[in-house]
């Protein structure tokens, strides 16, 4: 099996409270792994630890068979070139319009011609259905539009790994299922690997290849989503029936 990311003995906490306890799991290449769990169970914390915003207490994270050294600016910057992140609230920069937001990774990191930036940003905006809104500022967009915009920004450099924190929370069912389609498209057409934190059962059913279920900082289940569906673990069943 092809593992893009391996998390070994991961423990993470804030101040003195430990949130994740000795987690072990991996992320399969070109698959969508969903992370499930009650709110406050540490799902966002996992994503933030992977992207180096929170230091882990113990354990290591292996990316492409190499332990990520979060203290090396050079290593980290190489890692960031290969990932895209959709934050829980989108986190578009409020000071610039949608077009410039999505162009930002291209403008800041590499020296692209303005013409190429324009083409690529327009293509991505079109894919998320926001081409008409390129000139709008984030404050002028609805919650769902912000998230789709943020997804376009996460995809702009066609990263190998995309991390999404509750992409469909607070969205109407139609927009939510459009986002699901988009994520499947990234997997199937671009060969991207995705980690998706989500609550929506409908979404999980359509996108999940693998699943990690968190319960009080521990992995209650980790494996193929199909196996999870057939599991007779009580906690998991409660989850799937809710």
């Amino acid at each position: 099996m092809n593992k893009l990311l391996k998390l070994k003995n991961l423990s993470v906490g804030y101040n003195r409270e430990i949130v994740l306890k000795n987690l072990n799991f991996f992320i399969e290449k070109k698959k969508i792994t969903v992370i499930l769990g009650k709110s406050g169970s540490g799902k966002s914390t996992i994503l933030k630890t992977i992207i180096g915003l929170i230091p882990s207490i113990t354990g290591e994270i292996v990316f492409f068979d190499k332990i990520i050294d979060y203290y090396s600016e050079k290593e980290l910057s190489k890692f960031y070139n290969k990932i895209g992140v959709l934050f829980q609230n989108g986190a578009l920069l409020n000071s610039m319009n949608l077009f410039d937001n999505i162009a930002l990774p291209m403008r800041m990191r590499f020296e692209y011609e303005e013409q190429e930036i324009k083409e690529r940003v327009s293509t991505k905006l079109d894919q998320v259905g926001l081409l008409k809104f390129a000139e709008k500022y984030p404050a002028e967009l609805s919650g769902g539009m912000k998230k789709r915009g943020a997804l376009a920004r996460a995809m702009i450099l066609e990263p190998e790994l995309i991390l999404c924190d509750e992409p469909s929370a607070g969205l109407d069912p139609v927009t939510a299922s459009e986002l699901d389609d988009l994520m499947k498209k990234m997997r199937d057409e671009l060969g991207a690997t995705l980690i998706v934190v989500t609550h929506e059962l409908r979404s999980i059913n359509t996108i999940a290849d693998n699943a990690l279920v968190l319960n009080e900082g521990k992995a209650e289940f980790f494996g193929k989503y199909d196996d999870m569906k057939n599991s007779n673990n009580e906690f998991i069943n409660k989850f799937l029936r809710s």
Binding site: G52, L53, Y80, V85, A91, L92, M108, R109
Partner: protein, 259 residues
Amino acid sequence: MISEKIADNIFEKVREIRQYMILLTDEIFYLFQYIFNRKGIYPGEIVKQFFFMAYGSFPIVTLISFLVGITISITTIQQLQLFGADIYLADIVGYGLIRELVPLMTGIILAGKIGASVTAEIASMKVLEEVDALKVMGVIPEKYLMVPRIIGIIFAIPFLVAIADFIGILGGIIVGKIIAGIPVIVFYNEMLTVVGIEDFLIGMLKTLVFGLIIVISSGYKGFTVSMGAQGVGKATTESVVLSISLIIIIDCIFALLLY
């Protein structure tokens, strides 16, 4: 235990000072790094910040220095007239404004105006995860957000100080002319006997240091904002208080050094 609490507080303060110094040295590094390779900052951002700082603060700085020029002139001229020494108004106003009052007043006004807005902006970006988003896009937030503001204030200050000096002294000239009948040219010539170009430059340098203190303090309070709804407001207030306190402390050190 009370003693433990005091010790905790002291450790906390020391930790904060250390964090502040780290940010300060990082910013100096990023500033020079930018000067040499011109990377890591959004195009056009420096000009935008300069205009916001210079143009945005110019009316209030002008107004306040004019009023301060008039006020100290009226206050002093009464004393001077007791000794028939009216003409020395020019020395006091010129020297006092250029060396002390303009730098201090400008610093305090900018702490309220620029400091508050820089802190609010950075703090809300932090709370809304925009700072985290920048980081994972391979951008260094402490450089991307701070260097344009540092360069902006470096260019805005000379402009603001020159205008404030001019307008403040104009206030003195008007009071001298109306109350004591001192002709403009006499006032001007007398002022030049005590005020030289070095005084002007010292005032400018002091204000420049105050400006840098304001931007660094605002960034520090912005980046260390505590999460939650009150975080941004609290950070903004604290940043203004911190800037003004540091400005007054450093002004005092300047006065001792230049005595």
